[in-house]
């Protein structure tokens, strides 16, 4: 068990997400930066999908009530074990009574505390991920608070062989303040004119403060809609279509001056113009981008998207080879 002394800014239990329930309006949830999450699990010798704690900007303080094997990955939060600095991207042994203090990160947003055996909360609709809007899954359906006692499974047999393993530098993300996000254009973008599409792709967009696990909001130049008559049933606004189910990663224009990219806790459908979809790998980059940081959207084809996916798989395979038991 881990006792939460201080929950940090926004800490939840997450795994690889909930599938097969989108038609009920239940989004996948799951780790926001899957790449960092997966490496954390690999370091402690877990299957990649085991549940871990996802922290946001400021980590918090945790007391271990049994001996465990842990790894911290993701944004470089300043971490201390019993006041001694603790390295990220490396496997550590912690003892009953040890106190882990995780402070703020100068870059990035999300960090993961992965533990051999995984966080032991019940599966809800097939996943341990927290979906806060409907209080589904995770630890009692909510973010952690001080005094919570989080059940942890026994370390996997042989996990102690992982202690001291680390992630080589070339596998650690750089958490840039400027991101290039690859997007596949399409969906209902036909309601935007050519000029608006060019503006979308040629401009820098800035992350707004009210960005979270549901949606990232961006401010940028004004784009214009085509001002064709909206389709029947959609209402009378030029930014509306007949409501559709949104892919995770969809890029929506809510009005001519704001765009949204839907994240893992997305509202699953709606009637805003959807100009395209950010590829799954780059959702990790969005999750690590801080308010006021900037990005640019790069149009890619399905083949380029699959190429990006293959490169990610290849990279993780190489890492598995380096750090596996």
């Amino acid at each position: 068990m881990i006792e939460v002394k201080d929950p940090g800014l926004w800490t939840t239990v997450q795994d690889m997400g909930r599938v097969g329930k989108y038609h009920l309006g239940i989004p996948p949830s799951g780790a926001a930066d899957k790449y960092s999450f997966i490496i954390g699990n690999l370091l402690v010798g877990n299957p990649v999908e085991f549940a871990a704690l996802e922290m946001t900007l400021i980590g918090g303080e945790f007391e271990f009530h049994k001996n465990l094997i842990i790894a911290l990955t993701g944004a470089p939060m300043e971490a201390y074990l019993n006041h001694q600095p603790l390295s990220l991207w490396e496997t550590h042994y912690v003892k009953e009574g040890d106190i882990l203090t995780i402070k703020a990160c100068p870059i990035g947003v999300k960090s993961y505390l992965c533990i051999s055996g995984g966080v032991n909360v019940p599966d809800v609709l097939g996943s341990k991920s927290t979906y806060e809007l409907s209080q589904i899954g995770g630890f009692r359906g909510r973010k952690l608070s001080a005094g919570d006692r989080i059940p942890i499974n026994e370390p996997l047999p042989g996990a102690s062989k992982q202690i001291g393993k680390f992630t080589p530098l070339e596998f650690v993300p750089s958490f840039h303040h400027f991101q290039e996000l690859r997007v596949m254009m399409g969906m209902t973008g036909y309601l935007m004119n050519d000029h608006a599409l060019k503006t979308f792709l040629n401009s820098e967009w800035m992350v707004a403060h009210e960005s979270n696990r549901v949606a990232y909001r961006y401010k940028g130049p004004k784009v214009s809609f085509t001002e064709q008559h909206p389709p029947f049933g959609a209402g009378n606004s030029f930014s509306n279509v007949v409501d559709i189910a949104y892919p995770i990663g969809s890029v929506l224009f809510t009005n001519e001056e704001e765009l949204i990219v839907l994240q893992n806790d997305a509202t699953t459908g709606g009637g805003f113009i959807t100009i395209g979809t950010v590829i799954s790998q780059d959702l990790d980059l969005i999750a690590q981008s801080r308010p006021l940081s900037k990005c640019r959207f790069i149009a890619v084809t399905i083949d380029q998207a699959m190429q990006a996916r293959a490169e990610r798989t290849k990279k993780l395979d190489a890492l598995v080879h380096l750090i596996k038991r």
Binding site: Y22, L24, M184, G235, D243, I248
Partner: protein, 294 residues
């Protein structure tokens, strides 16, 4: 046959395929979306993760490490072409009664609270919807809105939220309303909203941009599984079901909500077979036959 254009397919990033049956809303498009997604679900294809039937489109999420994007696209195109013949379609669905308190005080209060986001800030949402649809008499509006049965054409947004669209009406007979300029940050739980040509019942307090015209006395989600009729999935809404509003007054509203609280309320429901072919051929008359004396 349905008179529908060719479905337009799109890749949504590396994990989704979006299929648009029509840009505008038509009941036929929704029947087709239901038929194609039912067929796809039945086939239990490994690597297909989520299948969502939507108002006039559908969305499929898949794992491209298991199925190639282009192969799945071809596969979907074939199902889309061959499995939506209305002469072969039958849906087993339910008619569900929704007791509704129109123009209730809570909806009114929310109308005024968020009036700075409203296209017509001087009117309550209910008054606004009446006005833009040419009604001057409240009872006439309520009669018109509640008389029509609604088809559940999509579930989503927040868990258990169902878009429903009037059955058997011509486009010019449908009550419609513009949405809020900017979404409310709060909406009363069980609020009945109208946006474009669609109705929704908000399952929980949350954001929303549809005009609030009343409140359902009964919940559409029951996470504690207290109500007999919602035990199976916790959610009332199923795509293809038909919802029928019954106007109620304050005392009836209070009586039903207290039955819900004690877990005694039973939903008025009837199982029926819905034939898209008969709907296409007979329209309003078929809807009346389906409803019978419900």
């Amino acid at each position: 046959m349905f008179n529908l254009p060719e479905t337009h397919f799109n890749f949504g990033g590396d994990e989704y395929i979006y299929a648009e049956i029509s840009r505008d809303m038509r009941i036929e498009s929704n029947f087709k979306a239901l038929a194609v997604t039912d067929e796809l679900r039945k086939r239990e294809i490994p690597g297909i993760i989520d299948i969502v039937s939507s108002n006039s489109s559908y969305l499929v999420r898949y794992n491209p490490d298991i199925i190639s994007a282009r192969d799945l696209l071809d596969y979907l195109k074939e199902i889309d072409l061959t499995k939506s013949d209305p002469t072969k379609l039958h849906f087993s669905v339910r008619i569900v009664e929704i007791p509704a308190w129109y123009d209730d005080p809570v909806s009114k209060e929310f109308s005024y609270r968020f009036k700075n986001r409203h296209p017509s800030p001087d009117l309550s949402d209910f008054e606004f919807v009446m006005k833009v649809n040419g009604f001057t008499d409240k009872e006439a509006f309520i009669k018109c809105h509640s008389e029509t049965p609604y088809l559940i054409t999509m579930v989503g947004f927040l868990p258990g939220t169902a878009w429903h669209f009037p059955l058997g009406l011509q486009p010019n007979e449908i009550i419609q309303a513009p949405k809020y300029n900017s979404p409310r940050t709060e909406t009363p739980e069980r609020g009945i909203g109208l946006g474009g040509a669609f109705n929704v019942i908000y399952p929980v307090n949350g954001p929303g941009s549809y005009q609030l015209i009343g409140r359902s006395a009964i919940p559409v989600v029951d996470q504690n599984n207290q109500l007999e009729d919602l035990k199976e999935t916790s959610f009332l809404a199923r795509p293809g079901d038909i919802w029928k509003y019954r106007p109620i007054n304050e005392s009836q509203y209070n009586k039903i909500t207290s039955e819900v609280k004690t877990g005694k309320y039973r939903y008025k429901m009837k199982e029926i077979d819905l034939s898209p072919l008969e709907y296409a051929e007979k329209g309003k008359q078929y809807v009346q036959e389906l409803m019978g004396d419900f």
